[in-house]
Subunit: 339 residues, 2 copies
Amino acid sequence: MTKRSHSVTIRQVAQQAGVSVATVSRYLNRNAPISKEVAGRLEQVMAELRYVPHSAARQLASKKTHIVGLLLSDLHNDFFVPLLDGIETVVRKNGYNLLVATYHAGSRNLPPPIGPHNTDGLLVFSDGLTDNDLAALSAQNFPMVLVHRTPPQDLPIPSVTVENKKITAELIEHLITVHQRKRILLFRGPEQQEDSYWRELGYRNALEAHGIPFDESLVLHGNFEKTVAQQSLSKFLEDQNHPQFDAIFSGDDDAAVGVLAALREHRYRVPEDVSVAGFDNSGFSAFLNPPLTTVSAPTEAVGRIAAERLFSLFDKQSAEGVTLLPTELIIRHSCGCPI
Amino acid sequence: MTKRSHSVTIRQVAQQAGVSVATVSRYLNRNAPISKEVAGRLEQVMAELRYVPHSAARQLASKKTHIVGLLLSDLHNDFFVPLLDGIETVVRKNGYNLLVATYHAGSRNLPPPIGPHNTDGLLVFSDGLTDNDLAALSAQNFPMVLVHRTPPQDLPIPSVTVENKKITAELIEHLITVHQRKRILLFRGPEQQEDSYWRELGYRNALEAHGIPFDESLVLHGNFEKTVAQQSLSKFLEDQNHPQFDAIFSGDDDAAVGVLAALREHRYRVPEDVSVAGFDNSGFSAFLNPPLTTVSAPTEAVGRIAAERLFSLFDKQSAEGVTLLPTELIIRHSCGCPI
DNA sequence: CCAGTTACAGTAACCGGTTACATTATTTCA
DNA sequence: TGAAATAATGTAACCGGTTACTGTAACTGG
């Protein structure tokens, strides 16, 4: 019951096994030959003493943290579960650890909580870092991979994201040509967010292709969040002289849930009065009321591939530019299609 | 363009500012008086050199990592977003970092990836660690808080979870008394998972209270996962002589989505033929088809409070036993109630 | 006016690993 | 068979911070 505060060191192991610390270290890292005999003795002693190498000491001496950082803008979307799942799977498989942090506009006076001082590399989601931050880190050759964002100013940072523009145009075109919608409300995602940008562009392109003028008053600003979307749309609907509309493209599926909530509150029928479409094809979207027409995005794959890119940066210094994963239109009932 | 691999050290800062390293360290930690003049000089030099203290060195010397570990069983449930959100918020507010890892049964030959060697304390979700692991760490006085799990063997580990049994009994009772359901299929959550256990107990209690015999053939095993639930129920339904049933209590809302999918596939009408109820009140549950009767659980609060408990352990060594957060019945249409 | 504090700063040991360099014994092979 | 390569291990410097210990100057109160 001696309660020393858990600090079995490599020297204790060495002494106990009658070898030098260097030998123990070599055994731990298996980076030099060790005799069978000594190896056996060490294994036993380490088990006996319940020795676990101290990470910080290891990191300091080896200049490697074996930690990957994930920088998010926030944690308010079901979307992050598959993303995290993909990332974590790869990180674990490589024997690394995952440091997760959010870093949003409000805290921009503070330095980022994760970076070269405590990780070997970063996965940067969306606007988790400013262009300047990215440029500075990139200049130091710090390994990074961007997720749902393309590199600014031609920085040579690999990037993994999904095809937004073309698929959104297809989706809007579907609303126009199949369902004769002409007043399509755009529920825009977060300002500064790239997906938002490309989706808006796809929306505009589709309108233009069909000779429908873009109407600023039909653009609402949301946040890829259920409640924000709900409140925002409710406020819009409560304005006596809000513009007419016959469809809503909400920024993503989470926002679509809020959109459906607000519409129901205000007695609109979906899809009879209003067509609704989302983006992401979240697990629940097929079972909303009505089933949600949306775009399926391979979010888990985005996470997985982004992490793999980062590890290949660790190895071979090879960058692979922008990876654009394909998306797919998922037609369900909320746009007006049967079933 | 000198590309030294980003290693501005405290000694360089000290030299540049004409003071000793001790003074720089004191300034960084603000744990001893520094003259205005020197402070100013240091601030400037540190900005100029873009000095960021090296975490590992700091951890090694101070014996504090300023990292909180979160150990999850997996990442396959939307439930984790609010949980993570609550945790991360508190962790960030305290100036700590968050290390996230999964550690499941399959990897039980490996040691846990996070523990005393790389964190100051652990949030352990559900069966993220075995009883033995917990006992060992607890014996070393390692700060931990359990989430959605109560401490085994009277270990003095604080725990934060939600009330499962009573509310589940209420829910089942609702199905029995209001909707005259008597053959209620229980979609059990993961084996070994405490929530599953208590929910099953609530289910049994409610049956017993109403003189309905427990029928083992009405228990299906799921995993709190959409697809697993869907497949599992589908297989059940495809068995020609499966027992009759008139309601399903699925382990949680995620599983409920799968249940709804399987039922639709097999042409059951909800709630006319079968009542369905879930657990968690996930953001989407109000907008499923039909709107899901469920139990609202304060998941974000669970995360927040668990993290707060951990930080209060860091400070005052005060443990607060088991915290049971209240849950609430949410009646919607999937059980058969109007609206 | 002097003992006792307090403010401020420096020196160097220490945290627990890794690894360059050195050493000895054993193989390998021309 | 002798030179060179390889196996197996040890010694000690080093990674970049923190902090105990020490010292000087200025301040405080009786």
